[in-house]
């Protein structure tokens, strides 16, 4: 009963912070697009954590689907229809289709082999974006387009010029995605994923089709990463081959581990710390990467279950 109560308090605090962020962010030296970036990175990290923390499968190639979402949205808005939602739809579908096909090829692998193959497939997409100069702009990235105001017929939202409107636009998709992921995790399917994480062999003996479950989990995870990618492209009004590269995947893993990959909100905290730390420290010294690295080492050494892991441990004690 007490645990349940605490959980509601936690959710309430997180949602009220997210809802009011644009109102107070400038008071603490932030700015609205920073908040938007935290949300997008958090969505990507939480989606990755669906696979990593709840199914126990480590992917090092999620940036590929992040980037496919970004390029899908950018290319659609630039060449096909100047419509933000259409761009997001195309980006999402491209990401899902690629993830579904590649997922079929790799689900039989486990552990380090799975991680290596996801990197390999990720780099394939990176090099396509990097080399196909005529379409993707190659190394120069995809520029010359921008997100368009949303026209709902009776109501128009100017997400292009109003940064706060765009923040709430992103928060809307963030909330939906998080709700869906939470609902899936509570369902029998979600519980099965936990069982696979805890003991795959035992789950197999229970007659659970492991590969199909891992594939579904992979697909769900990649879907939300693609969504985060489309939002990221809209935030920057730009798609960049770097979005698809393996080090971007590494950043997502770092965020999940920093915050705590055994807790639902952990990656959100991790993403917030990662983005804010990078933003602040890099203004002060060009050696900022050493500090982020040091911070990561300290977290892994002293709280291997991430920052949220500490809180949870206190509760247990």
């Amino acid at each position: 009963m007490d645990r349940q109560y605490q959980k509601y308090v936690g959710d309430f605090i997180i949602w009220s912070v997210l809802l009011t962020m644009p109102l107070w962010l400038h008071l603490v030296g932030g700015y609205t697009p920073l908040g938007t970036r935290v949300l997008i990175m958090a969505l990507a990290a939480m989606a990755l954590n669906f696979l990593l923390g709840y199914t126990g499968v480590l992917s090092f190639g999620h940036a590929a689907y992040f980037g496919l979402g970004a390029y899908g949205a950018g290319l659609t808005i630039k060449y096909l229809i100047p419509n933000t939602l259409a761009g997001m739809g195309v980006g999402l579908i491209v990401g899902i289709v690629a993830a579904a096909i590649i997922g079929l090829l790799i689900i039989r692998l486990r552990g380090i082999y799975f991680a290596m193959v996801t990197i390999a497939f990720g780099q394939v997409f990176y090099f396509i974006a990097y080399r196909w100069n005529n379409i993707t702009g190659g190394d120069d990235g995809l520029s010359g387009w921008s997100r368009q105001p949303i026209d709902l017929g009776f109501f128009k939202i100017d997400i292009l010029h109003d940064e706060k409107a765009f923040y709430y636009f992103v928060l809307f998709f963030f909330a939906i995605s998080v709700a869906i992921m939470a609902a899936i995790l509570r369902s029998p399917f979600g519980r099965t994923l936990l069982a696979i994480r805890e003991n795959e062999r035992r789950a197999r003996f229970l007659g659970i089709p492991i590969d199909r479950h891992v594939w579904m989990s992979w697909l769900i995870s990649c879907t939300f990463v693609s969504l985060a990618g489309t939002l990221y492209a809209l935030l920057n009004n730009f798609a960049d081959p770097h979005d698809l590269r393996w080090d971007q995947s590494g950043d997502f893993v770092m965020m999940a581990v920093l915050g705590g990959m055994r807790s639902f909100w952990g990656p959100l905290i991790g993403a917030a710390m990662f983005v804010v730390l990078q933003d602040y420290v890099s203004s002060m010294t060009s050696n900022w990467m050493s500090f982020i690295g040091l911070f990561f080492v300290l977290v892994v050494l002293f709280c291997p279950r991430g920052v949220l892991g500490i809180i949870r441990r206190r509760q247990v004690q």
Partner: protein, 420 residues
């Protein structure tokens, strides 16, 4: 007693504490710098201070810092002091660069954004500043689109376009060294546009391209490309690399003895790269965008001396000049127009001529009205193993005017749309 202190064993804990203290000093020290003046005019630099382009980005920053010092000595902008806020964009992550541009504009309220060695970042930041209506001067991103198809009313550029660089070289190469060319090109947008530029010239003059090799960025072993180039038997082998790639490619070309049998040349070359080469590999004909050894040009000596003081005694490179000229450009136009209004300043910069103490070049240096591209001099010459002094690694054979080698505005694809 004193001996005790010296001989006391240093524990692990002490070492860790010292490490943390040194780390903390790095973070806290810039706050002191920020506390200058009352209502300063803020200039934001969003550039590559870490990664592949770190040296180039820092050199631009140093040039900009020198300009800020000089501007403040001469009364600032509109009587207000000037501060330079620098943000690291990393060398590859354009998302971070965009983020930092937002930070400079929305949080720090800068009046001018200076960026970036990386062309992709220059394009992306141009979109941000155009949306926000903030002045933007591109220091060192060369891709044609910045003042071409993706040009904006508020974006001006100091460094040359890739097309200006190839146009300045091609006639010389064709007339002097032969009409059969082989390209060794880094496989990304910068290399591709350079090669296209040379191919266009080659077609115009009636020469032949006997082959081309695309090398991935970061190639360390160029032997297979060099063997292919050798087999094609060209008159000229053209290297279009930058940075470490250029260093590796030229070193290996010399090891293969290619410099004895073919002519080696290319487009853009930088002092940073020549510095990294062994003397016997400082070969070939290139174009520099600015050079420190210009004995007959007024004010250059003073600039070189001032940078030497900041740069551990080393001479300025073209990158220093980019940062310096970009920062001074803004101060000059703002003081002339007596406003910081971006629209007025952008209109004022169209056709604006840099004074000799900023231009540091023999001919008239001005911003072209149609595409906001600076029309500087370009320095065609050849690398030398040993110069008059150790830093003199390039011999300027000919100085051309930017306006003579730049394609006309109608061919750049730039149509500037002013905000309503």
């Amino acid at each position: 007693m004193s001996e005790d202190i010296i001989n006391r064993p240093v524990g692990r804990r002490r070492v860790l504490q010292a490490g943390l203290a040194i780390g903390a000093m790095q973070v806290t020290s810039p706050f002191v710098v920020k506390a200058l003046g009352e209502v300063p005019v803020k200039i934001g630099m969003d550039n590559t201070f870490t990664g592949t382009y770190a040296e180039l980005g820092r050199n631009e920053q140093m040039g900009s810092e020198l300009a800020v010092q000089e501007i403040n000595k001469k009364g600032g902008i509109l009587g207000r002091p000037v501060v330079l806020l620098s943000e690291d964009s990393t060398s590859a992550d354009t998302g971070t660069a965009v983020q930092k541009a937002h930070k400079l504009i929305e949080r720090d309220k800068v009046s001018l954004v200076l960026d970036s060695v990386n062309s992709a970042m220059a394009l992306a930041i141009g979109e941000v500043t155009a949306q926000a209506g903030v002045m933007n001067i591109v220091t060192g991103g060369h891709t044609d689109a910045v003042t071409g198809t993706d040009c904006h009313w508020n974006v001006f550029r100091i460094c040359n376009t890739t097309r200006m660089e190839t146009n300045s070289m091609s006639k010389l190469l064709f007339d002097k060294f032969g009409k059969k060319w082989y390209f060794i090109t880094p496989d990304y947008a910068f290399g591709h546009t350079l090669q296209q530029g040379f191919e266009a010239s080659l077609k115009k003059f009636g020469g032949t391209e006997v082959g081309a090799s695309l090398t991935p960025l970061g190639t360390t072993d160029f032997s297979s490309y060099l063997i292919k180039a050798q087999a094609a038997n060209p008159d000229v082998i053209i290297f279009l690399h930058a940075g470490q790639d250029m260093i590796n490619a030229l070193k290996q070309a010399v090891q293969f003895g290619l410099d004895k049998r073919f002519h080696i040349a290319g487009a853009q070359q930088e002092l940073e790269a020549l510095n990294g080469l062994p003397p016997n590999a400082r070969i070939g004909n290139w174009v520099f965008e600015w050079y420190w050894n210009q004995p007959n040009v007024p004010h250059v000596k003073e600039f070189v001396a001032a940078i030497r003081k900041l740069n551990n005694g080393k001479v300025p490179t073209a990158r220093h000049w980019f940062g310096y000229a970009a920062t001074w450009t803004y101060a000059l136009i703002a003081n002339e127009k007596k406003t910081l209004d971006a629209r007025v300043l952008a209109k004022g910069l169209e056709g604006f001529t840099l004074p000799p103490e900023v231009a540091l070049m023999p001919d008239k240096v001005f911003f072209r009205a149609g595409d906001h591209q600076l029309m500087p001099n370009l320095y065609i010459g050849h690398a030398v193993a040993h110069g008059s002094v150790p830093e003199d690694l390039f011999h300027v054979d000919q100085v051309v005017k930017g306006i003579d080698v730049a394609p006309p505005v109608s061919e750049t694809g730039c149509h500037i749309k002013w905000p309503a």
